[in-house]
Amino acid sequence: MRATQTRAVGSPGTPGGAAITSPPPASGGLPAGRRIRSTQWAAMAFAAPLIVYLVAFYAFPLYRNIELSVHDYTIRAFVQGNAEFVGLANYADIITSQTFLPALRNTALFTAVSIAFQYTIGLGLAVFFRNNFRLSGVLRGMFLIPWLLPLIVSASTWSWMLNSDSGIVNSVLQAFGIGQINWLTSPGMALVSVIIANIWLGIPFNLVILYSGLQNISPDIYEAASLDGASGWKRFWYITFPLLRPVSAITLLLGLIYTLKVVDVIWIMTTGGPGDVSTTLAVWSYREAFGTGQPAFSPASAVGNLLILIALAFGVLYLYVQRREDVS
């Protein structure tokens, strides 16, 4: 019924004529040369604000970013609007810069380690909170605090706690006889410190999403499993974990894209670390554009575009995995 109605709206006058002269168009398709029907106008009117929004806030900034990176935007060129076109020279400059490999390595380490720990701890806590004990709601609420606090508050507090001489972490460690660790100022520990702070910040997000994913697993399956004699660990590994796969996939993807972009935590704690030790690609891009007395927009946007490509690669990977899941 619905199909014929659509065909009646979108095809030429006589259905018979349509069958002979041209194949019926797909619903919403337009036979060549026909004027647009009223429902198509309605559809376009609905889509128009969204398209305007997408063009203004997604397409235009992307275009501008690419344009910034293929021209040489010195400050003078920025003000006078006469930047020279340099093609891929900015990309060549950043790839051959001595900050590139450290930044790439730090980004990989920062993202991989943060996600691994955030996910594992979030999952553990979510499974823990499945048993509704008294005050579990309050405790779960308190675990949300890292997510709710403004980042500048959390990052500043972590900086104070990790201060080499007067931070509380070192005081506690010294009480146990461990020597002074220069958390934020030594080349070995700066990256570790920002990773620790970032893990703390990311746990609530994972906890909330995985917890709601767990709610969707029917308790009947667990009953059946325990009737078959499955222990706690086996229940988790063979039931909970596989059934959580779609939720895990989206949590990991969102966490990854978010972590790739983290600037504020690292900037407030170490401004990219002594030298380049805790500089990630995002921090490098920010530093080039806003962190020095001479904004260098072209290299910054080149680094930014690299970051977009990396995030895009992971997005495509996620879609591929999703499609395989749907097919199987």
Binding site: Q5, V9, S38, T39, W41, A42, A45, F46, A48, P49, V52, I75, R76, F78, V79, Q80, G81, Q98, S159, N163, S164, D165, S166, Q180, N182, L184, T185, S186, P187, T270, T271, G272, G273, P274, G275, D276, V277, F290, G291, T292, G293, Q294, P295
Partner: protein
Amino acid sequence: MIRLAKSARVMAFVGVVALSGAALTACSSAGNSSGTASTGGGTYTWWDPYPQHDASSDWAKRVDACGTAAGVTIKRTAYDTTALTNQALLSAQERTSPDVILLDNPAVSTLADTGMLNTTQELGLDTSSIDKNLLAAGVVKDKTYGIPIGANTLALYYNKKILDAVGVDPATITSWASLTAALAKVKAAGHKGITFAGIGTEEGSFQFLPWFWGAGANLKQLDSSQAVAAVTLWKDWLAKGYAPNSVITNSQNTTWEEFLTGNFAFGENGTWQVDSAAKAGFPTGIIQIPAENGGAAPAPTGGEFLTAPVQKATGRYATTKKIINCMTTTDGQVKTATTFAYYIPPTAAGQQQLLAQKPDLKAWVDAVKSAKGRTSDNLGTDYPKISQAMWTGVQKALSGSLSPKDALVGAQQAALKATR
């Protein structure tokens, strides 16, 4: 189906109208706030980096008074210093620059290079009575692009209680060797030696420059043996425990907080802490930062320049000139000095008047007279890039990733690459 199409059309129409209405209102209100500069009718825009002085402060009232004296109303906006440079660039790109901007002195040559600032000559402003060393930061290729409202600089504050306890007379500290010896005595007595800001931002460069220049090094040659000596001085202090490890991430504010705890014998900080030092829980004093082999090291100048960006309506310059002249009279300079506790006035007359009011600022006036602009020596727009390379090198050396020599060689390479 047809009824649905019609009501859908109506809804869509209403939706588009509502959205366009919202968009237009947003555009027009945004347009209003940035368009005041060109509306004429007696409103002049003024940007400065003093958000701590709000509309009810003495500073704002003085600005308004100068506007009224020139026959116009001044609309003042205060930004954070780094944001101000970016805002100035954006407004210049859009050709909607304000009439007056107070720019941090190292940024003046950068913005002048873009062509967005008028020279003082074009405006008919007289800069002959301004101290040359303070004016230098605003001079690019023999043209002056602004007038300093005052300058502050760095010195070594000392904790008199600790120095008396260990028997060190601050007047004897006139070289690096004597300073390091004093630090050794202080540490041996169980106190902490010296604190400064070595953070990886312009503040770190600012605090490192007196030692860098005091060794005789030049910003065009970051890997000279004198430069290596300066970095080695700081590194040795860290290694021997005379300076705390936190200096690597200290800002100047944090350094001051550390000094105020009373545990440190010396703290490197600037004129702006004079009042806070007077209120500290222990007696304090200052000495000039010593050069390597004796005498006072040249310290960098802080402080802003009054600049007049290029406007489409050139008729506005006459009033802009009156406003700037009003803010820079000798009395005005002294009032600015006390508002910003303490910008030393850039003219001899202003300095004398300030000293008549506050004679204990003599040491600071001397310090400012021997201070140096960071963008002088014809560095101009190269300075920010060299500064970035320098603070990165200092950070690597202090944190131990590289030896001082290797760190500075790397810094010089980076600086050359960035300034070619």
